[in-house]
Symmetry: C2
Subunit: 400 residues, 2 copies
C-alpha cells in the first residue's frame, strides 16, 4: 500500500544523534556523538532507595492509577521552589507544568503557537532536535548570529522586523552545541526586544546546573516582565534521562494551553517518574550529587581540551565552555566532517557533524560537535588521538 | 500580553473527563465519570517486587540512561508475542512500537497522516479524547452509524466515497463509550472496504482483555491484508494507567514514521515504565491477575445493571456490555444531561454527558455514559439510586 502521509512528514527524518545512538550498542565505539550524562553520575543507589520507599507506602496503588495532566500537586509545588534556583522567584503552582523531558516542553510550546509557515528564530547554530520538532510543525527556522556574549542584538531585531517570527528559541546557558553562555546584560536585552515585538521566547535550560567554571547567570525568564518567556528545563542531565521528567514555567494562561496540548499527547507523565524526581529533590540529593557530577564533567572537559591541544591539527578551532556537555569545533573549509564519519567509525570513534545544528546548513560542513560527558578519560584521550590522526591526514591531503 | 496562538488552539479545550477528574479529589463524590480501573485491581505488590528487582540489578544504571525511541529490544520482542493474543500472529520487532499509553499511539498516527482539513471517520459515538486529538490536528471528524454488530457497512462505504477520509478510527471491542463489540464478520468487511479505498484504520484496543461474557473476537489488525490497519493497545486498563505504557502494531514503514514522530515528542517512554510492563508480562502475572480483574468488573457491571433496573426511570435505555468499563445510556428527548450535572454533583455523584462522544453533537444532549469499574458495589448502588431520583424528577417535570 502507498501511504498518503501528512505534509509534515516530508521534512521529518530521524535526528542524527538518535540514529547514531543506534550504532552505539557496539561497546567498542568511543562516542562523542550523543549528549548522554556520565553513567557514573546516574544516581542508581538513590533511585533504588526512593523506589523502595514509594512502593512500600500504603498509598502506592494511587501511584499506579491515572494522574492529573499538569503533574501531581506536591511535585508542582516543589518545582516552584526549584525554579528559584535559576532566579524565577515568583512562580506559583499554576506557573509550572510537569513535562516528560525537556523535549516535550518544546513540543508543547510549538503546538500551542505554530501554524505551518510560521517563522521561528534560532541561534546559529542551535539544538538539532529543536530543528526537527520545528519541522514537525512545518515552521520555517531562521538563524540569528551570535558572539561570545550571546545573540547579536542588532541581527535579532533586524530579523524580527524582517520575518515577523512567532518564537525565538535559544539555549542561553552552555548552549547545545557551542557550550557558550549569554551574559546577563544580553539576556535582559533579548527579553526586552522580544517583548517589544510580541515574540515568544523558549528558553531551553537543560545544562545550567552543570557549571564547573565562572559565575551563575540568572535565567532569561527571571527577567521576563511581559510574560513572553517560556522556560523549559529537564532533569535528564542532572538526575536521569531515562526517567523523562522536566518542568516548563510560564504564565498561567500559557501553562494551561500547554496542559491541554499535553492531554492529547501522553495524558500525563508517568507517576513513578514524577515521584522519583520529586523525592530526589525533596530529600536534598541534588546539591551533593551535582557537586560530584560537576567535578567529573569539569575533569572530562579538561581532559578533552588537553587532548585536542595535543592531537588535533593546529588549524582546528574550538570553544572552551564553563559548563554543560559539549565542545564545538571548526576545521578549515574543505573538510567535510560528515563525509569523514564512516572512516571515524572504522577507527571506532563517533562524533556528530556540526551542519545538523544549523537552520540553514549550507557551507557548514566543516563544523563538529564533541560530547565529553559520556566517555571516560582514557577513551577521550584515545578517541581524540584517533580523530587527530584522521583529520590531520585529511588536512594534509587538502593542502597538497 | 495577548498571545497569538496556533489555529489548532481555537477548538482545543480540556476534555470533559480530564476536567471532571479534577473534581474527584473530593472523596465524597461517587464517580461514574472517568475510565479508571478499580484501585483493588492495580498490582501494587507485583510492581513493588518488580521494581525492587530492577533497581537491585547491576545493570540498573543503564535503566537511568537514555533509551532507544522505539522501546528497548527485549520489550519489543515480547510485544510481538503479546499481540498474538489478539490474533496478530506474524508481528516482528519492526512491526511494534512502545508508546507512552494508547493516547500517544493515536497522536502519533494522526501526526503521521493528518493535514488540516483532512477527514477522519469515527463511529457515532466515539472515544471523546480521540475527537480532542483530531481537533489538535485540525481534522474534520464525520460520524459513521453503527448497529449492535458494528459499523454500518453501507454508511461506511457511502461516507468514504463522499468524504475521501484518510483515517477511520474505531474501538471494535467494548467500545468507549457504548461497550459494544463488532462481530468478526463485520471486522473483516471493514478491513476489506477500507483497504479497497486506501483508508488507514486506527484500531484502538484498550479493553478487549476485560471480557466477562461472550466469546473472543480477533482484532481487525489480524485480518489486515493491505497493511492499512494500525493497532493501538494500552496496558493502562490491565496493568496500570499511571505507568503509561502501550503498544502500536503496524507495517514496518508506518512504525518507522511513528517512531520519528515520537522522537520529537517525548524521545522515548521512560525506561522504568517499560521495564515494569516487560517484567510483569515476562513473569506471567497478566493472566492470573486478569482473571481476578475480569471477575471484579463483571460483578461491578452486574451491580450497575441491577441498580439501573431498580432505580432508573423506565424510559431510560442502556447497553449491556460483555466487557470493558462502560454502560451507555439514553434518556428521552428533553433531558439535557449536561445541564443536570451540577445537581448531580450536589448529590455527590459524577457521570459524563454523552454528547462529548459525538463528532457531530447536535441533538445528543440526552445521552449519558457510566463507568462501573472505579466505584465499589455500595457506591454503585447509592450513586445510581441518587441519579434515579434526580432524573426521575426531571422526567416528571418534563411530562407535566
Amino acid at each position: 500500500m502507498n501511504y498518503n502521509y501528512a505534509s509534515r512528514m516530508a521534512n521529518l527524518n530521524g535526528t542524527a544523534t538518535r540514529e547514531i545512538f543506534k550504532l552505539l550498542g557496539n561497546p567498542e565505539i568511543i562516542s562523542f556523538a550523543g549528549g548522554n550524562p556520565a553513567i557514573e553520575c546516574l544516581p542508581a543507589q538513590r533511585v533504588k532507595e526512593i523506589t523502595a520507599d514509594i512502593t512500600s507506602s500504603p498509598s502506592f496503588p494511587r501511584v499506579l492509577q491515572y494522574g492529573l495532566t499538569p503533574g501531581f500537586p506536591e511535585f508542582r509545588e516543589m518545582l516552584t521552589e526549584y525554579v528559584k534556583t535559576v532566579g524565577i522567584t515568583d512562580a506559583k503552582t499554576e506557573n509550572v507544568l510537569v513535562i516528560s523531558g525537556g523535549q516535550q516542553g518544546i513540543d508543547l510550546a510549538l503546538k500551542t503557537f505554530i501554524n505551518p509557515g510560521d517563522v521561528i528564530l534560532v541561534e546559529n547554530p542551535t539544538y538539532l532536535a529543536f530543528l526537527q520538532i520545528a519541522n514537525s510543525y512545518e515552521a520555517v527556522c531562521k538563524g540569528v548570529n551570535a558572539d561570545d556574549d550571546g545573540l547579536d542584538l542588532a541581527d535579532l531585531e533586524e530579523k524580527i522586523i524582517r520575518y515577523n517570527p512567532k518564537i525565538l528559541y535559544c539555549v542561553p546557558t552552555f548552549s547545545n552545541p557551542t557550550g557558550k553562555t549569554y551574559t546577563a546584560e544580553r539576556r535582559k536585552k533579548i527579553a526586552e526586544i522580544t517583548a517589544k515585538y510580541g515574540v515568544i521566547v523558549i528558553e531551553d535550560d537543560p545544562y545550567s546546573k552543570l557549571r564547573f567554571k565562572g559565575d551563575y547567570v540568572p535565567s532569561m525568564k527571571s527577567m521576563d516582565e511581559a510574560g513572553n518567556v517560556i522556560f523549559v528545563s529537564s532533569f535528564s542531565k542532572i538526575i536521569s534521562p531515562g526517567n523523562r521528567t522536566g518542568v516548563a514555567c510560564a504564565t498561567p494562561e500559557l501553562i494551561r494551553k500547554m496542559e491541554i496540548c499535553k492531554q492529547g499527547t501522553d495524558l500525563h507523565t508517568p507517576n513513578l517518574s514524577q515521584m522519583i524526581t520529586y523525592e530526589y529533590l525533596k530529600r536534598g540529593y541534588l546539591e551533593p550529587d551535582l557537586k560530584k557530577a560537576v567535578k567529573i564533567y569539569g575533569e572530562k572537559k579538561a581532559c578533552m581540551s588537553d587532548a585536542i591541544a595535543k592531537y588535533m591539527p593546529k588549524e582546528f578551532e574550538c570553544t572552551d565552555p564553563d559548563g554543560g556537555l559539549f565542545i564545538w569545533g571548526k576545521f578549515p573549509k574543505g573538510i567535510d566532517v560528515l563525509k569523514i564519519f564512516p572512516e571515524a567509525i572504522e577507527k571506532k570513534v563517533a562524533y556528530i557533524q556540526g551542519s545538523v545544528f544549523f537552520a540553514e546548513p549550507e557551507g557548514t560542513e566543516n563544523y563538529i560537535r564533541f560530547n565529553y560527558s559520556y566517555a571516560n578519560a582514557e577513551q577521550i584521550d584515545t578517541g581524540i588521538k584517533r580523530l587527530g590522526e584522521l583529520f590531520g591526514e585529511k588536512l594534509m591531503n587538502l593542502n597538497k
